[in-house]
Symmetry: C2
């Protein structure tokens, strides 16, 4: 029979999945002999069963709870509900992953009209007893029974005002009695029934409330943001109360074993005397810094410090502790790994290795790779931010901070930036046409699209701040205005974006630059030592490649050649190519592009000397490169010496109902092999030139969107003869590879065939996810919102690889591909390449490398090291 | 070592894959002792090696050919190239599948300036010798060396004109000499070298030409149409010549053992005396019917008849024979299964069973299921068709024949049809909005889209004639004109469509109705006895369901509920639902639709009494239901009491970049559960009503576009409570199922999870193919054309299931789904359900049923029977 309730003395830290983090740590501290108020934990399995059985706690589990309560009564020689020797408890949530503040807590449970009197007698402290009661009534009412907290707080405020006092401490015992009585009246009025007097009813209702709170909106949102499965459930901890509000030798506080902001090895925290936990958080009284305790109660301070050090060594991590002092006696109520800033995380890790607390492997595993992102981008200055005027929220699509003047078109952004203006490009959505403007802007704000919309993907690639899909703004291009927060903003008005949080502010906010500390460098060196996969970057220019190299990239996993065509100086030739009516015109237009493209590649090769560079052949649908607005079409027609109607009909002929499933990827090169020929010439030409300069070049030509081996076979027949001839004629030694971007479900299914024609696969998980789910990343936004809301999706599959479905396609592809061709190089160049959860999966698949946007390279390096430590390759 | 050349005496009919059909049958007839001119076959593997090695015949194979030639010389006591006793041969292609007229043939090979003189002496027939020589020069020039045939024919015509004669037979020996000399001069002029005199050179060049012809454009097209893999290659047959042009007791002809048009058991064919094979085909001389041979040479006729009967029994099939009479001696040159009309195929099968030649199983396997299609639809009368004025070609999207007046809008089609006019709806493409017009029209013609474009799919579902994607027409909606064949057609002009061939004609053409013969009924009864899978139909109305039932459907595999909303009487309420800003308005609008929808289902249930009916919940993106043109939007706004701008903004808000990957399928019902509720009410309400009437109803509610089990879980939570409550309240006994359309790659990958929430999977292979290939069926047309042209695709994956990729997804889904839930019902409702090749694959997967459009039910029944005979289920 499954056991659903564990006494603290029965558990330990390894039972985290079952007991939740808090419960497991309480059990562990109990085992270590720390002064922990005792109690028991109701398991996460009980929570799951609660939901499975239609939101009821089964009789079997209830009986276990009652039994545990009896055991607790025996241990303490107190009785639940007995005014003579009352047992009072707290009920707290605690899930496997830390979800601070997301779920509910009830304190002082077990009090009723009789017990409170008993407690007053027993402690000889009526004020304390009624203070505890009124707190309990409010928490139970608010948390368990959904009576709005404000009703109680307003009443408390009213009584304080009546008495002309400010601090709760100044309320007398009589006042507290009155507060408690009025709170009960509010409860009865709101619920239509009296406040429950049976402690066992209070307990069961509170436990159920904690189970329920697992699915409250903020918990759902937190899980979605942090990729925590709903199936984990929460445990519930029932613990004997100790009281920080018993008088002047009682108190309560929280502390970190090191400074969570800087990582400095110093006890850091705050406390309040004669208070319960929520008073520290609520901010009605100003707590003291923990250092003050050293002066006030040096022995207690030393004892606490000793426990902190002990726990830090025991857990091998900086701890976040809660404690209570009851009549001069110290109790530790909770310990957990402390949340910390990115730079603190690095410092703590490096220090703990130096202190001999952690091995380097352990230190690496203790750092959350996603945190590093914050270190890579400029941020707003803290002070400036505090005063900032928030006007909208959107998706945190690409991190960093930026201020600039609003512009509504890419051309305008490009022009103004050329004149030295700082601009923010504001669009409903962006398209490939807008690249030059995006590149010129300080940041990008869009009203539509998700985390993998065009704006988001391109911005991340550029390392540019972007807030995407902000439904709270509405743009009127014609008027040149944006509405947000009920206000109207005009082109030229200053706004600021925080791409790390998705926040939009009015006005200009001062920023500070990113910097890399020594700790950062140390941690990265360790990571590189442990990891088994290479980390490459997605970069489209020599500049981006240099950024990536500086951040530790070992090659380029994806160069998108199309971005190179949007340069205003080149787009004309490219458009000429697209609308050409015969091969010769097309070839001539391509010839005009060739030198520029070759120069781009040459710059990347030079930077990446000795490292591989994957270059993808032209990918997006051609109509993306053509203008849509009448004036632009007219201008282009004039420049091309073409009738307007003719050009317009060519453009509309190229439009498709579902461009994502249309004439793009290798389909372009198959229709127009001369494009692939030109691109091969540019790649191999640049590689030969670089080789002659003494640069070591390892070009990998990547054919996108292959669904059938014959596509690749055909294009190998176009690419290789051109490349081989050039190399032979040049006289240099140059090896190159031709492979495919594995991004179509059918390609995954036929990987054994495709591997025979491919030197490498690079998983294009953006498209693989899109096609695999049948869900367009550009249209997914509102659908995903609904899905989160209804609990259907817990995380955005475009942000974290869906291991069950899309991951299975990848696994089959890896297995079949390697079986057909043991030396097949396998990598990933989709957006997932910079996501730690996805990087871990790539390690499980034994990929050779991951590739991500330049600024995510450190994250990928650390994530790859962690993955290698967790899932070593068994070479 | 692989053997590449087989003497006829070494082979037999079972070696078809290696020797091709012709070679295997020549070998078989040799074994049977029939008078077959002897020779040898170069295998299909030699052809494949020819291509693999870059289009050269390897020395090894050449040597085998030379050796075989030597053996032939010994057997015949003739010598290749020796004027004294010349060995002359024909060189003919012959692939595994019959591809009549697609590849090349060379006759009289071995003749040169010397040998022709020898032949003249030997036969004492100078005219015959030079007639043969000039034929050889022309064929070799045309077929092998690409000298255009017209050059030779013009020269022959010139000489005949000069001499004032019409019939080749009137040319004298001297004339023939002159023709041959002039032909050689033409050859030399065109090729820049003399006509080759070395017979071995002639032979090798000709063999290579046959290999080459495997990939000529008409062969490629034929293979694509008939789903024949390029990898099969062609064999080459080298056979001693016998001569039908040696004089009045020589001749040549072709004959079927039964009438290929009617199936009647009578020798049917034609012949010419003093002629070679191509004369019979060329039509320059009018051949005699074969019955005439009975009078002219009764003994030869009887001998030939005997061989025909013998071969028919031996092969168990009607044969198509070629024969030559050389100086009164009969030779059989070829036998193969005879092509026949659909009705002939049925009659031959039924007769042969009655005659004891075939078992019923064998008879079933001898009929091509695709042929039955022709029996299901009205056709043009043969005479009327002969005089028809063809103006364009398009894709044969939905079979049948239709004439009507051109209309350019669905509304107009609907209005005119109501007035009793016959109309053809002509559109660039159709969308869900056009359904009422499509339904009202006699036929549909579109300028864009492929075999699975909207127009094609819907038309096939309706059993309505459709020519799709005719790039030869161009439509100007504004002017109300269509251009084709350089002419302009106006709205109201008559045109005619042949949806079976994709041909468009000007004017009205008389049609004849389809009829089902006794043979058809007999064959269908046999098929039903053998098959293991059920055959259901896709039908959206009681009428379609009745058609399907009449054609043998055992249930409905797909009812598309959205088609019901396009009825002009209902669309308003539906549009009101779509643009509703709150749930209540949406619910009210849905309530208004409910009675109509319920009535639709009731009619289907009544027809399908005792058979299952799968009803799919609303599937297409909502914006498909809204008007796009300004006038219509304005009208709707007025009717909805809404501002034009507001409605317009709602409509544009619903538009998506890739609607196929957007807000459709179950995503609609998840966003608006009230839609699923209303549809459940309509389905279960109708089922209850029908049950009360005494009808046995088996409703299966199908949730489309599921990619994750949680979607289905959520909708089960919407559907089942509504359904269960209604059934409980009604007091009737009613079982229903809830399952999913399996059409998303990720759903296939996670079928084990999904099966736990689904009573059935129905493979939606249209979308599965679309998503699996990343190729939109609406945009695929031009891409597929390029792919066929370049040999990348050999067949349209939307027409025949791609077994390697999409099929593998299905296989994984079946296996995982059944493992999770052994009683899972598995079916297919995509367009592939009516395609024999795909039906066979479904049998391999052991599906429970296939479902197809009503008019394809007989095809599916026969195909399922054949598949069961070939791949029995091992129950």
């Amino acid at each position: 029979m499954t056991k659903y309730v564990y006494m603290f003395s029965e558990g330990n830290a390894n039972m985290r999945d079952l007991l939740g983090g808090k419960g497991a740590n309480l059990a562990e501290m109990t085992g270590m002999g720390l002064p922990v108020p005792q109690g028991f934990t109701i398991t996460t399995e009980a929570c799951n069963r609660y939901y499975d059985e239609g939101r009821v706690i089964s009789e079997e589990i209830k009986q276990e709870i009652v039994d545990a309560m009896r055991e607790e009564e025996e241990r303490t020689d107190k009785v639940f509900g007995d005014p003579e020797k009352p047992l009072l408890v707290s009920v707290r949530s605690g899930s496997r992953a830390s979800m601070p503040g997301m779920m509910d807590t009830v304190l002082n449970l077990g009090l009723n009209d009789e017990v409170v009197e008993g407690l007053a007698k027993l402690t000889d402290n009526e004020r304390f007893a009624y203070d505890s009661y009124r707190r309990f009534i409010m928490m139970f009412g608010d948390v368990v029974m959904e009576v709005h907290k404000d009703l109680f707080e307003d009443e408390l405020g009213r009584i304080k005002a009546e008495k002309g006092i400010v601090d709760d401490l100044d309320l007398s015992a009589e006042d507290m009695k009155r507060v408690a009585a009025n709170f009960k009246a509010i409860y009865e009025r709101e619920k239509g029934e009296a406040f429950p007097q049976d402690p066992m009813v209070q307990l069961m209702e509170s436990i159920e409330a904690v189970f329920r709170s697992w699915n409250n909106p903020r918990a759902l949102f937190y899980r979605q943001m942090n990729n925590i499965p709903s199936a984990w459930g929460t445990a519930v901890n029932v613990q004997e109360m100790v009281y920080g509000n018993m008088g002047e030798t009682s108190g309560t506080g929280v502390a970190f074993t090191r400074d969570p902001a800087t990582g400095e090895n110093v006890l850091y925290g705050e406390y309040l005397m004669n208070a319960q936990g929520e008073d520290v958080v609520a901010g009605t009284r100003t707590p003291f810094p923990i250092s003050h305790l050293q002066e006030q109660f040096p022995e207690i301070y030393e004892e606490f410090k000793k426990y902190g050090d002990e726990l830090e060594v025991h857990y091998g991590d900086m701890q976040d502790l809660e404690f209570t002092i009851e009549n001069g006696k110290l109790f530790v109520l909770q310990t957990r790994s402390g949340k910390r800033t990115a730079s603190a995380a690095l410092k703590v890790a490096v220090d703990m290795v130096a202190e001999g607390i952690l091995s380097r492997e352990e230190a690496i595993l203790h750092i959350d790779p996603s945190q590093l992102d914050a270190l890579m981008h400029p941020m707003f200055e803290d002070k400036a931010l505090a005063a900032a005027d928030q006007i909208a929220k959107g998706l945190p699509a690409s991190p960093g901070a930026a201020s600039g003047k609003i512009v509504f078109s890419a051309d305008q952004a490009f022009e103004l930036a050329k004149e030295g203006e700082k601009v923010i490009l504001v669009r409903d959505e962006t398209s490939a046409e807008d690249i030059h403007g995006m590149s010129a802007a300080e940041g990008i704000l869009t009203a539509r699209g998700g985390m993998t919309s065009h704006a988001a993907v391109v911005a991340r690639g550029m390392g540019k701040c972007c807030v995407a899909g902000s439904s709270e703004i509405s743009i009127d291009y014609a008027k040149g205005t944006m509405k947000a927060d009920g206000r109207t903003f005009n082109a030229g008005d200053w706004i600021s974006l925080n791409g790390s949080t998705g926040t939009v502010y009015a006005g200009q906010i001062a920023t500070k630059e990113a910097e890399q500390s020594d700790d950062f460098v140390t941690v990265m060196e360790w990571a590189d030592e442990f990891r088994e996969m290479d980390v490459r970057a997605n970069a489209d220019s020599g500049h981006d490649a240099q950024v990536a190299l500086n951040l530790g990239a070992q090659g380029i996993g994806l160069t998108r050649t199309e971005h190179m065509f949007f340069d205003p100086a080149r787009i004309f030739s490219f458009r000429k190519m697209i609308v050409a009516k015969d091969e010769e015109t097309r070839r001539n237009a391509l010839e005009a592009i060739l030198p520029d493209q070759q120069q781009d590649f040459l710059e990347i090769f030079r930077v990446m000397d000795g490292n591989p560079v994957v270059i993808r052949l032209l990918d997006p649908p051609l109509h993306e490169f053509l203008p849509q607005e009448e004036a632009e079409v007219r201008e282009l027609a004039t420049n091309l010496n073409m009738e307007y109607d003719e050009l317009k009909s060519i453009i509309s002929g190229l439009s498709e109902l579902n461009p994502m499933l249309g004439h793009r990827g290798c389909r372009l090169a198959i229709s127009y092999p001369e494009i692939a020929e030109m691109q091969t010439k540019a790649i191999i030409g640049a590689a030969i030139e670089a080789t002659k300069e003494g640069v070591r070049v390892i070009p990998e030509i990547m054919v996108p969107l292959v669904s059938d081996v014959k596509e690749l076979e055909y294009l190998n027949g176009v690419i290789k003869p051109v490349a081989d001839k050039m190399i032979a004629e040049s006289g240099v030694q140059l090896a190159y590879m031709v492979g495919t971007m594995l991004e179509i479900p059918r390609a995954a299914m036929t990987s054994d065939e495709i591997a025979l024609e491919a030197d490498f696969f690079s998983f294009g998980t953006n498209d693989l996810t899109q096609m695999g789910y049948g869900l367009s990343r550009d249209d997914a936004g509102p659908i995903l919102d609904t899905y989160y809301e209804k609990g259907i999706f817990e995380a955005d599959p475009t942000a974290h690889i869906d291991r069950a479905g899309i991951g299975r396609l990848m696994r089959i592809s890896c297995e079949d591909g390697r079986r057909a061709r043991p030396d097949l190089e396998l990598g990933i160049c989709g957006e997932h390449g910079g996501d730690p959860y996805s990087v871990e999966f790539c390690q499980m698949l034994k990929l050779d490398y991951v590739s991500c946007s330049p600024y995510r390279v450190p994250i990928a390096r650390l994530a790859a090291a962690q993955a290698a430590l967790r899932y070593p390759r068994n070479k």
